[in-house]
């Protein structure tokens, strides 16, 4: 007779309470996994975007909590381009706006004739022909999510824009975006002469230390701007930071919910099993074995809740992807380390929750337990 089968049968004997406790833990763990996946998905999407463009570094305003940083003068591009080691640059002005049923669509515009345009692959229609042509390009995912094709129009910033082309991009973010010539977006969004990202390409073969020193120099010349390598910029991005902050908050919340629900369940269980624990003590079980039994049961609730939470996160992700409006806008990348972290976290939360009930149970005197009857 081992502890584990005893514990499993005890939990099974109280099915409804066990199920509700597991559900409570699982929902919290699902939220943690999903948010971690969201942050990772965003980082991956950002990296894809930078790679697809061939961008080595990004300049933007020091993040101020908004997913899209505040605009700054495009004149800065001129002085940055003149620095030794910089091969080329491309200004970007982006915004997130609701369109139709979609709560958040990325509208982006690129400096005319900059290298950024080179990676786009038009699969239908054509590219804009002039920097001030009032047309839009749709990424393939955006086209599907918005239900727009060549020749359709889209209401943006109070004007109807004809769709002149559909493009493909290796970047999921770009694939879900609406692309406008920079001049047009600057004018329509009251940001004439402004950009909120400056993409940079270094001279080929530049050493990493040299690249970093150029970026520090840019920050020194232009206080208030942040310059970072493309590979690191995702982590600096305020969206990533916001999602990470949310993840931390949800983790803490899940911990509190997990702690209270498992502790409540275990206290109830100890109370209901007063006689059983008394008998076990009477027939010679040591207090330490009783403690182990309760702790193991609480940990088992934690680990099972954690695993269920991970499975729920996978299921929820697939469910969300069924909605084009969500599937085109976000990516949830559930990495193995997030799964391991969540299951371990749930197990530890379970074990901690079981401490007090375990101590209480182990201190129970057999005669007191018999009187309880």
């Amino acid at each position: 007779m081992n502890l584990l089968p005893m514990i499993i049968r005890n939990s099974k004997a109280r099915r409804m309470r066990t199920a509700l406790t597991l559900l409570g833990i699982a929902v919290g763990m699902m939220a943690i996994v999903a948010l971690m996946g969201l942050a990772r998905g965003f980082e991956r999407g950002w990296d894809q975007t930078m790679n697809a463009r061939g961008t080595d570094a990004v300049i933007n305003r020091v993040a101020a909590g908004s997913p899209i940083p505040a605009p700054f003068s495009e004149e800065i591009a001129v002085s940055v381009r003149s620095l030794p080691g910089i091969e080329s640059s491309g200004g970007v002005l982006s915004s997130l706006v609701p369109i139709g049923n979609l709560p958040m669509v990325l509208i982006t515009s690129w400096e005319w004739n900059s290298y950024i345009w080179n990676h786009l692959k038009i699969v239908e229609g054509r590219m804009p022909q002039r920097p001030d042509e009032q047309v839009i390009l749709l990424g393939k995912s955006a086209s599907q999510a918005l239900g727009k094709e060549i020749g359709d129009t889209l209401l943006l910033y109070g004007s109807e824009f004809p769709v002149c082309g559909i493009y493909e991009s290796a970047s999921m973010i770009e694939s879900g975006a609406v692309l406008i010539p920079l001049e047009v977006m600057q004018e329509k969004s009251d940001n004439v002469g402004k950009i909120n990202f400056l993409n940079l390409r270094f001279d080929s073969g530049i050493e990493s230390s040299k690249a970093r020193s150029i970026l520090r120099e840019i920050e020194a010349i232009h206080p208030g701007l942040s310059a970072s390598l493309a590979s690191e910029s995702a982590q600096q991005n305020s969206t990533t930071k916001a999602v990470r902050g949310m993840t931390l908050a949800v983790t803490l919340l899940a911990m509190v919910v997990g702690l209270t629900s498992v502790m409540n369940t275990m206290l109830m269980s100890v109370f209901e099993r007063t006689m059983e624990i008394g008998v076990l003590r009477a027939i010679g079980w040591k207090a330490s074995r009783i403690r182990r039994m309760i702790l193991l049961e609480a940990s088992l609730l934690g680990v099972t809740g954690g695993i269920l939470g991970v499975l729920l996160a996978f299921a929820a992700r697939e469910l969300l992807y069924l909605f084009p409006s969500i599937g085109s806008a976000i990516r949830i990348e559930i990495a193995p380390d997030a799964v391991v972290f969540t299951v371990m976290f749930a197990t530890i939360v379970g074990a901690i929750s079981g401490l007090y009930p375990a101590i209480r149970a182990s201190r129970m005197k057999p005669t007191a337990a018999f009187r309880h009857q």
């Binding site: 007779m1 089968p5 005893m6 049968r9 005890n10 099974k12 004997a13 006689m275 059983e276 008998v279 076990l280 003590r281 009477a282 027939i283 010679g284 079980w285 040591k286 207090a287 074995r289 005197k365 057999p366 005669t367 009857q373």
Partner: protein, 234 residues
């Protein structure tokens, strides 16, 4: 004055125990000697202190004053009494107290986890003990699938799991019908006679007490008289 134990198996010397801040005097200076091989029935009305005395002998409770000895060693000096209870004493309770989620065989194995018995020996020993109490065909049954008499026989098998030296039974027939009670008492008698098991049971039923070789009658927390039972009656 230092109490000096005799050479008997278990002994209570001047044991007192009260509850509820002394308002209830459960035991008032009880002396009792349990010799090896004894079969003792402690009788008395409800509240006479017989169950409290049994719990003291089994190390389930501690006296306010006086001392309990087992083979001359004071229980108060043993520290953690769970080892004593696991290795030296077997308990049978009125309400059986089997774990409802476990099978009969598993219930019998529960005390074995605190013994030095190897895991591989536990299941065969449980099966052997259940067969000894006539339940070889109910090994995999859960308590709810068993009759009261069968449950008590599982509890008796459990009490023998670690080959105790002293078997303590608290109203073992209290929840049983007459036929089941007789069967259980025959079983306990057989264990006593065949294995030389020392047995102390608490009962208020004269028929059950009649199986013992010695009856100790308690009243108001004190031993009133001891009656050797004539051999014919046993």
């Amino acid at each position: 004055m230092e109490v000096v134990p005799s050479q008997c198996l278990s002994e209570a010397i001047a044991v007192t125990r009260s509850y509820e801040d002394g308002r209830i005097q459960a035991l008032r200076g009880v002396d009792l000697q349990v010799e090896e091989g004894d079969f003792i029935a402690i009788t008395g009305s409800s509240g006479s202190g017989k169950t409290t005395l049994l719990q003291m002998l089994g190390g389930l409770d501690s006296p306010d004053s006086g001392e309990i000895f087992f083979r001359g060693e004071a229980l108060s000096r043993m520290g953690d009494l769970s080892t004593f209870r696991a290795q030296k004493v077997g308990f049978v309770f009125q309400s059986f107290h089997l774990l409802s989620t476990l099978t009969a065989a598993e219930n019998v194995q529960v005390p074995m986890v605190e013994s030095s018995m190897h895991k591989s020996e536990r299941a065969p020993r449980a099966a052997h003990l259940l067969s000894e109490v006539g339940l070889e065909d109910r090994i995999h049954s859960r308590p709810l699938e068993l009759s009261g008499g069968e449950r008590q026989r599982v509890a008796i098998a459990r009490s023998l799991a670690n080959q105790p030296e002293l078997l303590l039974a608290d109203e073992p027939t209290g929840n049983l019908d007459r036929a089941s009670a007789a069967m259980v008492m025959e079983l306990l008698s057989r264990i006593h006679q065949e294995n030389g098991m020392t047995l102390v049971l608490v009962t208020h039923d004269p028929t059950t007490a009649g199986y013992a070789s010695r009856q100790i009658h308690m009243r108001d927390g004190m031993v009133k008289h001891t009656t050797p039972v004539p051999p014919l009656r046993r």
